[in-house]
């Protein structure tokens, strides 16, 4: 035993001695890029739903159209141009468009991808649900969608239809319920990419990281010569870990969800600079319009008047000129149709709050208020407690609960048991306001975290349907402005602030889409194109 012990110790100490000089990573690549995201990455574009999934989707795949850089609307992407003739949208696929596998991108691939998305029924499929009557290949590189009725948001929604290499997918499909398409390669496409984006997966582990390398057959929008030659997208790192790794030069771009003081401390170290991705995301404190006392609009207006907007913004400040939020004056974030920048920003008015409360049919003392906050975003506890402090001044009995996101998604399906108020960030998934407000406020959508206000208002429904069928841009904008005004009067949510993503970026890395004027793609996540990022050291 003694000899064993000695040997063991010897082995350990030798290992430590030898390991020390090897600690510096032996980089095989010249320009690696390392980023992280709080959530788990889903690389199948038909299943993706949140921010990380969008970032993966836009880098691994191409959609027919893309949000317009620095402006509203869409621009050509995989489709070089298109024509709209009544209900028929016809797209011409870019000349020479090729998948990473070397297969040419054809109309059949678009059809396969669309049918696959609708058959799996997850992710962005709800954007098209019931709207497309038929889809057919006019020729090899021309594809035509025919809609069931006028649907103005259709073109914008196509930014979420990633085109999958159907030949490769069908070679790798497993058994499943979709007849000749098996499982629609559902298992395989969750482990590898099959797209025409600038990058392709080299390895993917949903719990750890996705490693991506440039797609040798890429022929889309130009790639920066200093673009990374290997991208590692890591999942679920702690804020403290990211901070330390960045200080050591072992990490390049942080996630959006770091607490402001961690971002501030990183920036103060001098090795990291900050960049913001504004726009497209509202922070809504959803008010449960089905549960007393908040089923009375006066009680809701009391809360929106009492909310402390100024302190909220102070709590979001990172540095003097950078904050994780900006004021918001209605249901629509700026940059979308109907956002009304001329209106004054809301401010706390306790006087008005008391008047509204007096007009409310309920005595607030009889109805304790449940406020939940999402456990995964620690900074939200502050806003929940801020609400508790202010609403208590109105004589309400307020209870604050930390709730994991997974549990919230279940709770919100039942309005009777869902919390009275909960802060949820909702992003427009496409450059069209419909992708945001329809899912939030239409009385026809199922109860999800996006619709946790459970609003059922005929006037709102009217505007939402009109916004879908009206195709004239000016008239549409007016419809959404009217809707916005109605939503201010109904107060189904406290429009707390507009979320601004703040990234910590290691010096030596440049992200022109965020840092240069007019280069932002205004839909959340679409600016994170790795092909445009420069690794300069």
């Amino acid at each position: 035993m003694k000899t064993m012990t000695r040997l063991g110790l010897l082995a350990c100490s030798t290992a430590m001695l030898l390991a020390a000089p090897l600690a510096a990573p032996l980089l095989a690549q010249e320009r690696p890029l390392r980023l992280d995201e709080a959530a788990v990455g889903e690389i199948d574009p038909a299943k993706g739903a949140d921010y990380a999934d969008t970032v993966l989707g836009v880098n691994l795949y191409e959609a027919l159209v893309y949000p317009k850089q620095g402006a509203a609307g869409v621009q050509p992407w995989l489709a070089s141009d298109w024509t709209i003739d009544g209900l028929t949208y016809t797209f011409t696929i870019r000349d020479g468009a090729t998948f990473a596998s070397g297969n040419r991108v054809t109309a059949d691939d678009v059809i396969y991808s669309f049918n696959r998305l609708m058959a799996l029924g997850q992710g962005p499929s709800s954007l098209f649900e019931g709207r497309v009557d038929s889809i057919e290949a006019v020729d090899d590189s021309t594809v035509a969608f025919t809609l069931t009725e006028a649907f103005a948001p259709f073109l914008a929604a196509l930014v979420q239809l990633s085109v999958v290499d159907s030949k490769l997918a069908m070679e790798n499909q497993g058994e499943g319920e979709f007849g000749e398409f098996g499982d629609y390669a559902s298992a395989w496409l969750s482990s590898a990419s099959a797209g025409s984006g600038a990058y392709m997966t080299q390895a993917h582990d949903p719990q750890v990281e996705t490693v991506m390398v440039p797609n040798p057959n890429y022929n889309g929008a130009a790639m920066d010569p200093l673009a990374p030659d290997e991208v590692t997208y890591r999942y679920s790192l702690e804020a403290s870990t990211v901070r330390a790794l960045m200080g050591r030069g072992e990490h390049d771009i942080s996630s959006l969800w770091l607490p402001p003081e961690v971002l501030k401390a990183m920036a103060a170290d001098g090795t990291v600079h900050l960049a913001a991705e504004p726009g497209g995301t509202g922070e809504y404190i959803m008010l449960n319009t089905q549960r007393p006392p908040l089923d009375d609009v006066h009680c809701r207006l009391a809360l929106t008047s009492a909310y402390d907007y100024a302190t909220t913004l102070q709590l979001l400040a990172v540095t003097d000129d950078m904050a994780q939020g900006i004021p918001m004056n209605g249901a629509l974030p700026k940059g979308l149709y109907g956002a009304d920048l001329d209106r004054p920003m809301p401010s706390q008015d306790m006087e008005k709050a008391r008047e509204e409360l007096a007009a409310c049919q309920y005595d607030p003392k009889d109805y304790p208020l449940d406020i939940a906050w999402i456990a995964e975003v620690p900074a939200r506890e502050r806003l929940a407690l801020l609400m508790q402090a202010t609403f208590t001044q109105l004589g309400m009995d307020v209870k604050v609960t930390r709730t994991p996101w997974a549990l919230i998604t279940q709770q919100v399906t039942e309005p009777d048991t869902a919390p009275h108020a909960i802060e949820i960030a909702v992003s427009a998934r496409t450059p069209d306001p419909d992708s945001l407000v329809y899912n939030m406020y239409s009385s026809t959508v199922p109860h999800t975290w996006m619709s946790a206000s459970y609003l059922a208002d005929d006037e709102v429904d009217g505007y939402l349907e009109a916004g879908r069928t009206e195709t004239d841009p000016e008239t549409r904008a007016q419809i959404y402005r009217d809707l916005n005004a109605r939503l201010r009067d109904l107060a189904p949510a406290i429009y707390a602030y507009e979320f601004t993503g703040v990234y910590g970026i290691r010096n030596g890395i440049e992200v022109p889409n965020l840092e240069e004027e007019g280069k932002l793609y205004p839909t959340s996540g679409f600016s994170m194109l790795f092909k445009d990022i420069r690794v300069t050291d």
Binding site: L26, S190, P206, Q207, S236, T241, P404, T409
Partner: protein
């Protein structure tokens, strides 16, 4: 049939029974939770038709006893259902993440034995003198401190303030994982002759394995000390003193070996504790193992995956105890089942 073999078969049979019991326990707990498992599995956007289809496919409309039958049938086919978290088969996830946890636990186990036994021997040899007091205090502090506290303290000291060890992960960024053979990076790297990868993996193992091992080291030291002290009271120690053997030799040869057996039987339990504590340590060091997966699936109420993780850990625990039994009965054939039970 040799007595050792018979003993082993007997234990094996009991272990299988216990494992079946565990599967019943965990299956029924998973099924009595409020809420429809199909709705939970499909997420909030699912349509009623999708939910009905899944209920049909997963036999959720059958009586619960029949459901358990289906569950066992699938289990025997290696089908543990699909994870809601990774959207992959649970069996595949378990196969991917378990080796990382096992590697961490085995290295911690090795540290526990290599450091705990000598520390306990030292304490017993100098009983009621200062090395004993120091060793006892150290080991009791080690035992009393949760593994996550050790993780946080070690990380703060040796990765943040004095950055000589890596913060997290199994390998440095830029070093590719060795080709998959066993899933243990250290072994796979050696088998492939990738010496630098091997050392990099060891280098990443040191902090988490230490955090995990500390309470086991304390526990082992305490047990070794107390069983050696018991052995010291035996007549043959006094006899060897009378024969004029040096104290060092008595401690090493005569008192230490007989004391190993009770210690060994407890090692199985310590190993179980480590499997559980890995949940805490992996969280601190972002270790991509089964425990971290377990925490994520528990947070997400991912029922199939929770059942899978618990079953695998229970099986691992039972296997360890079988191995310990085997070793004990080889070292000391006099040890009988009843004696071991009484000790545990």
């Amino acid at each position: 049939m040799s007595p050792v073999l018979r003993l082993l078969l007997q234990r094996l049979a009991i272990s299988v029974l216990v494992l079946i019991g565990v599967s019943i326990l965990i299956f029924f707990i998973a099924r009595i939770v409020p809420g429809d498992p199909a709705r939970i599995a499909l997420g909030p956007n699912a349509s009623q038709a999708q939910i009905d289809a899944l209920r049909e496919a997963r036999h959720l409309n059958d009586p619960i006893v029949v459901q358990y039958g289906w569950f066992i049938r699938d289990l025997l086919h290696g089908d543990l259902g699909t994870s809601l978290y990774t959207k992959r088969p649970v069996a595949q996830d378990v196969a991917t993440y378990f080796p990382a946890t096992l590697e961490l636990v085995l290295y911690a186990g090795a540290m526990m034995i290599l450091l705990g036994l000598p520390l306990g021997r030292l304490a017993a040899r100098f009983q009621r003198r200062w090395p004993d007091h120091v060793a006892r205090l150290l080991s009791v502090i080690a035992v009393c401190t949760p593994a996550f506290v050790w993780g946080v303290i070690l990380q703060l000291t040796f990765a943040y303030i004095w950055p000589i060890f890596p913060l997290e992960g199994r390998l440095s960024n830029g070093i590719d994982a060795p080709p998959l053979i066993t899933g243990f990076y250290t072994i796979d790297a050696l088998l492939n002759g990738q010496i630098s990868t091997f050392f990099n993996a060891v280098y990443h193992l040191i902090l988490p394995a230490t955090a995990l091992a500390l309470s086991g080291i304390g526990q082992t030291a305490r047990l070794t000390r107390s069983s050696m002290i018991e052995t010291y009271r035996r007549p043959f120690i006094g006899m060897s003193r009378a024969y004029g053997f040096r104290e060092d030799r008595i401690s090493r040869r005569f008192a230490f070996w007989p004391s190993l057996i009770p210690t060994l039987t407890i090692l199985g339990l310590d190993f179980a504790t480590m499997l559980a504590n890995a949940f805490l340590v992996e969280r601190v060091f972002v270790w991509p193992g089964l425990s971290r997966y377990g925490v994520e699936v528990i947070m997400r109420k991912d029922l199939d995956a929770i059942v899978g993780v618990v079953l695998v850990i229970a099986a691992m625990f039972l296997i360890t105890n079988l191995v310990v039994d085997l070793i004990v009965s080889i070292i000391n054939p006099r040890i009988r089942l009843a004696e071991r039970k009484a000790k545990a």
